[in-house]
């Protein structure tokens, strides 16, 4: 075994450049596959960490549509009913307000910037685990006065970068008291201007039919709560209630992103096969070039098996070296990419083992024919060349 390894190393060392190039072909394929698997695993790990931080126990209840296609409304009691479901830990209702928000009153009303005005309960921030980039959220005091908290996108579009400014909301000035960080589980909040329910009713005369209701449940009871949400929110028309779990949407969005993983993996596999063809090519040429060596070894008493094993070992060594190099490069690419996105690095060990196995398998397949050919060579033919 040691002799065989020494033979293979010696054989490859005497053709150094070609050996390195053909091993590089294998390394390229392996690196591509490891990097693809590593990056998608890192991305998945990051998603799990993100979901962990955001919580997967957030559910939303929204009015859907009636049987005839008209927009439905939720009963006023819906938030109260929902908050009385046992495992529900927190609820926060929002309601659409038919007003626009603009930078100043000089801007025409049509240019709303795609920003929705919503009335929100003070516990919305804690229910969504939303954080503020500046200022504070609505509370029992401020929600009676013309104050507004802006979502991150809304603040950007209005050109507001700090608290204390004013925006023209529903034909009067509102003071900005807080700006939210992006809320991954509720992107609609990012594009909203949030005001208190009391001020919405008092100043803008909004009827407070609930819009989206956000709720947190006991994490182990999410499915049970989800099942009873619609009939609880609207016992008469449960079919007009839309219930969703935003973390599912987030996961689905990320899954769509990783749909490319399969494609990239396929490309990596093609690169690997091309690398294998390279190894086979190098081995075939090597057998042709080394006829005298084969003849000599037969003359020294090498059996056909000895010759076959020698060439197979060289091929395996080539692809094995390529595999190790590829795994290292792939892991490095993964680490660099993950660092660039400030994800944690996750390189799946089974993928590494699989990559090595694939490299060796390719090496064995690529080396088999040349090795058989070398072994079949008649010693007299080999010596005559």
């Amino acid at each position: 075994m040691g002799d065989l390894l020494a033979l293979a190393v010696g054989g490859l060392r005497s053709r150094r450049l070609r050996s390195v190039l053909s091993a590089a072909g294998i390394a390229l394929g392996i690196a591509a596959m490891v990097a693809v698997l590593g990056i998608s695993a890192s991305s998945r790990t990051d998603l799990l960490a993100q979901l962990d931080a955001l919580g997967t126990n957030l559910l939303t209840v929204e009015p859907g549509q009636t049987l005839f296609g008209a927009n439905a409304t939720l009963p006023d009691q819906a938030p109260g009913m929902i908050s009385r479901i046992g495992p529900v830990q927190a609820t926060a209702a929002t309601a659409p307000v038919s007003a626009t928000v603009r930078r100043t009153d000089h801007i025409p009303e049509e240019e709303s910037g795609g920003i929705a005005v919503r009335a929100a309960e003070p516990q919305l921030a804690s229910t969504l685990r939303a954080t503020l980039s500046s200022g504070r959220f609505l509370d029992g005091a401020t929600d009676r006065y013309p104050t507004v908290v802006l979502g991150s996108v809304a603040a950007g579009r209005l050109g507001i970068d700090g608290v204390g400014g004013r925006v023209w909301l529903g034909e009067r000035w509102f003071t900005v008291i807080g700006i939210l960080d992006p809320v991954p589980l509720a992107p609609e909040i990012d594009r909203s201007a949030l005001i208190g329910f009391p001020v919405a009713e008092a100043l803008l005369g909004t009827d407070s039919a609930p819009g989206t209701i956000y709720l947190r449940t006991d994490p182990s009871q999410v499915d049970a709560v989800r099942a009873v949400l619609a009939p609880t929110a609207d016992p008469q028309h449960p079919e007009e209630v839309r219930v969703s779990r935003p973390s599912d949407a987030l996961a689905a969005r990320r899954a769509a992103g990783t749909a490319f993983t399969g494609l990239l993996l396929g490309l990596g596999a093609v690169a690997l096969v091309v690398g294998g063809v390279g190894v086979a090519n190098v081995m075939v040429v090597s057998v042709l070039e080394r006829k005298p060596e084969i003849g000599l070894r037969r003359a020294l008493g090498a059996t056909r098996g000895d010759v076959r094993r020698q060439f197979l070992a060289e091929s395996l060594l080539l692809s094995g070296a390529g595999g190790i190099g590829g795994v290292a490069v792939g892991a490095a690419i993964t680490a660099a990419y993950a660092a660039g996105r400030s994800w944690g690095v996750a390189v799946p060990v089974p993928a590494l083992a699989g990559a090595m196995a694939a490299a060796l398998l390719i090496g064995a397949v690529a080396g088999l024919y040349p090795a058989l050919r070398a072994a079949r060579l008649a010693p007299t033919d080999a010596l005559r060349t």
Binding site: R297, A299, G301, D306
Partner: protein, 243 residues
Amino acid sequence: MSTTNSMGAMTAPPVLELLGVTKEYPGSPPVLALDSVDLAIHPGELLAIVGPSGSGKSTLLHVMGTLDRPTAGTVRLEGRDVTDCSDAEVSRLRAASIGFVFQRFFLLEGLTALDNVAAGLLYRERGLTPAERRERAAAALEMVGLGHRLRHRPGELSGGECQRVAIARALVGRPALVLADEPTGNLDSAAGARILDLLLELHAGGATIAVITHDNEVADRLGRRLSIRDGRIEADRFSGRAA
């Protein structure tokens, strides 16, 4: 034509024995390279097999060296009939009993002289460690006068030195028979003469050596001269030891 051994080793069984060996290469018409050749080589002999090119010398060497199988007839190596052996068995017998020296040396370019010689033991005694093989290789190189060239690669050695390395490789396993195929053919006359001196010296030390050559000057210096022409043995003369 006598088969009496001039060395007086008549009682010892032959190292190599060919009985009615015929080798025919297919084709139209088929080429008869060897035509029922009978030949026996006894331990301690030094013989020349001479003949013009195309006489069947190379085929004879290959058959004697078990690298090729005869179409008909029997080849016995140290008393064992090799004609019916499998490839693996023949390879083992070849490894144990025969050392080859080639006109073109066939040294491995990437290896030092020491490792080239050590390769001669690789298939012969499979239990040896690399260190043991190198030790014996060093002794063999010492024996051919290259004790000072152990670490040199073939590219750094002269033709005569390369052939000495090849001879050391053939002898390192102490084979029963050394087959040398035109060992001086690639060398200038001075280097060739020194190689021949070395073979005579090794023979004096007990080695059994068959030299295949078309060079009558070489053949004249060896004890027994076997002439071959058109696949037949034309003459088998013992001239005693010349030097």
